[in-house]
Symmetry: C2
Subunit: 397 residues, 2 copies
């Protein structure tokens, strides 16, 4: 199935900053102007050859969305069994917070225990299709776990730079599948500098967040699933724990494609960026009505997955928030842990700390009235609770 | 939907030892003769009112099998989003082991990170339906994690006895959702004695393995899924890491029900019990052609989930092995860890130690010729790799 009716409708790459178009069928990193590149599809072809009913009838894996994914040949698919993740109602916590319809999409049930599996499955599959044999990226842990697993499955060599303060399970995960892990005495931004040096010196494929165009295409399936699982409609509010922000950009891109296809109406969910008060560059930018963020000095939060002081795609994240009348909010670590414990107690569900941050934020936004009582609110639990509970200093209190 | 066409076809409870029948709609523990009780269904009603095509068309959650589950009223369903788990091909390891078709069913992707979610979802839902408010069980960890989460979601109080040598993450999981955890300086059999005392003294519902009839009904869905995902056929060999053995009994019961329904043919997969050489009571019994096992003294294995020195359902496990021309095999911890590392390296998939034991066993059984090269072999990875890697003494080497 190279370019068959149900194959990928990928047409070209496009720069969201300078609007240059480029060939999608060669290895690409950033645009010459420095911006991330986005994949574009022949949506007219998709609209005329596929229907929502047909999508509904397919097995609910990530690959159900094949026309809107960049992998052309099914032989290049690298899979560890990534199925649609469940949406779980938080009735107890929701009632206490005054939100009648509060639910969480549990990305911790994906292979490798986080939403990073989406980006890795598509990113690695497409990289294989384009002939990549070795890659590098900086990671706070879950991205490394996912990209090392999928990369190994594709027979690639993986090089990671990881903050040494990352939860120790991630070293275990990456090294178990044979990735080369270099620990960095610093933040993910420092790890990123090291990776940039490797890329320059060794000619490795740079799989850093948004430095190749296809990770986001995998993350996009998160948005597709939200819509399909809601009977082809969107919730009123989506809260997203924002580090690099690719999941949020992916949801936004997914919704735009579905609108263009006519598969959903024009109404957008209000997108909420949730960050930790110890590392909230995008919240600060949003509060100042800026289009981009600046590096957050001294970043520190127990929700390690969102300990990202400067995101390359910050301008896309902010655009998604502005264009949806969304919000950006920071919550402190105490509130994050308290939210995790409250959801566990009220609803028997154990969230990752990043996911717990969104739940803490939902309560604040309901109390302020920004979220109305009857609105349908969806929080994203980006990763398994089994990852962040043990820190290099021992169990998190 | 109390007794509607698509409601539960549960008809009665039956003792597999003394064959006594009893009422399924009151709280039940063991049979008066001391044996576990099994749930029985009106399979004729199911056969005449439901079809394989209808099952295929339903959303692939555990609840797709509602007619063959004991929960009568949908309002009593307690769910954390338990979807069908993926079957992942181990092409690389399989090739090296000489097994062309080797795959693993990844139960680590269920809520709470293990196959225990199946038994807890159904066990708790049915307990709620019967009015249970508090329960107790002994656990090596994953059962406690699952039953505490589902129990909390149902508003029940949970009391667990857990060996203090269990992986520390399990204490965190249970306590986070408000369960009462008592650590025991001994094995799960010692924990079981303590639970028996609580049950006697405090009148708690005994949710210990097979001491109530419904955990196995949840585990049964593992067998249903294997068949449905294989296009309504069975693999040639199923390898199961055996502690209490309820998953294996559940698969066996599922296949018997599907045969009775005429939804699969008479051919059985050969069932393989895999234990650790440090705790192999069922293997010892099988080698001696016994019908039941005796307590294994000094049980010890890093694959903590199968560190069960004596299983209450051992006779059912052994019967399933004998009646399917199966096998029982022990592998040592060194082989288990080596198999985990080999699968990670060959196929990019990180297994739990219990699942890794089945992969080690598959290689031995292929080398001996018991498994033929072209046979379809399915191994069960009962739990997430994120659980057992950290022991109370630190990371597992």
């Amino acid at each position: 199935m190279a370019h068959g009716a149900k194959g990928s409708a990928l047409s070209h790459l496009e720069c969201p900053k300078c609007h240059a178009r480029s060939n999608a069928d060669v290895v690409a990193q950033l645009c010459a102007c420095g911006s991330p590149l986005l994949a574009r599809y022949d949506l007219e072809r998709v609209a005329s050859s596929t229907s929502r009913d047909e999508i509904d009838a397919r097995t609910d894996t990530l690959w159900r969305w094949s026309e809107l994914l960049p992998v052309r040949d099914t032989a290049n698919r690298v899979s560890l069994g990534e199925r649609a993740t469940p949406i779980v109602a938080l009735t107890g916590y929701g009632a206490r917070a005054g939100i009648v319809s509060l639910a969480v999409k549990d990305e911790g049930t994906l292979p490798t225990g986080s939403f990073k599996a989406r980006g890795a499955a598509i990113g690695i599959s497409r990289a294989r299709e384009l002939g990549v044999r070795a890659f590098a990226l900086p990671t706070n842990g879950n991205a490394g776990a996912a990209w090392s697993a999928y990369g190994r499955r594709a027979g690639m060599e993986a090089f990671f730079a990881m903050p040494k303060s990352a939860p120790p399970i991630h070293r275990f995960e990456c090294q178990a599948v044979g990735a080369h892990v270099t620990l960095v005495d610093g933040l993910i931004s420092d790890a990123g500098k090291l990776v940039a040096q490797w890329v320059r010196e060794r000619g490795l494929y740079d799989a850093s967040t948004l430095k190749e165009p296809y990770r986001i295409e995998g993350k996009k399936t998160l948005g597709f699933e939200i819509v399909q699982q809601n009977g082809w409609s969107v919730p009123d509010v989506i809260l997203y724990p924002t580090g690099g922000g690719v999941g949020l950009i992916g949801i936004d891109k997914a919704l735009a494609e579905l609108r263009a296809l006519g598969w959903i109406g024009e109404r957008k969910p209000r997108m909420v960026v949730v960050q930790a008060s110890g590392c909230a560059p995008i919240v600060r930018a949003w509060e100042a009505k800026e289009r981009a963020s600046i590096m957050w000095e001294g970043a520190r939060t127990a929700a390690f997955g969102i300990n990202v002081p400067k995101a390359l795609g910050d301008f896309l994240v902010l655009e998604a928030v502005y264009s949806s009348d969304g919000f950006a909010i920071a919550v402190d670590d105490k509130a994050i842990v308290a939210a995790r414990d409250a959801v566990a107690s009220d609803d028997g569900m154990l969230l990752g700390l990043e996911g717990a941050a969104t739940i803490a934020a939902a309560k604040v936004l309901r109390a302020s009235g920004w979220i109305a009582a009857g609105e349908r609110v969806l929080a994203i639990n980006t990763g398994s609770a089994f990852k962040g509970w043990m820190t290099p200093q021992g169990p998190l209190d």
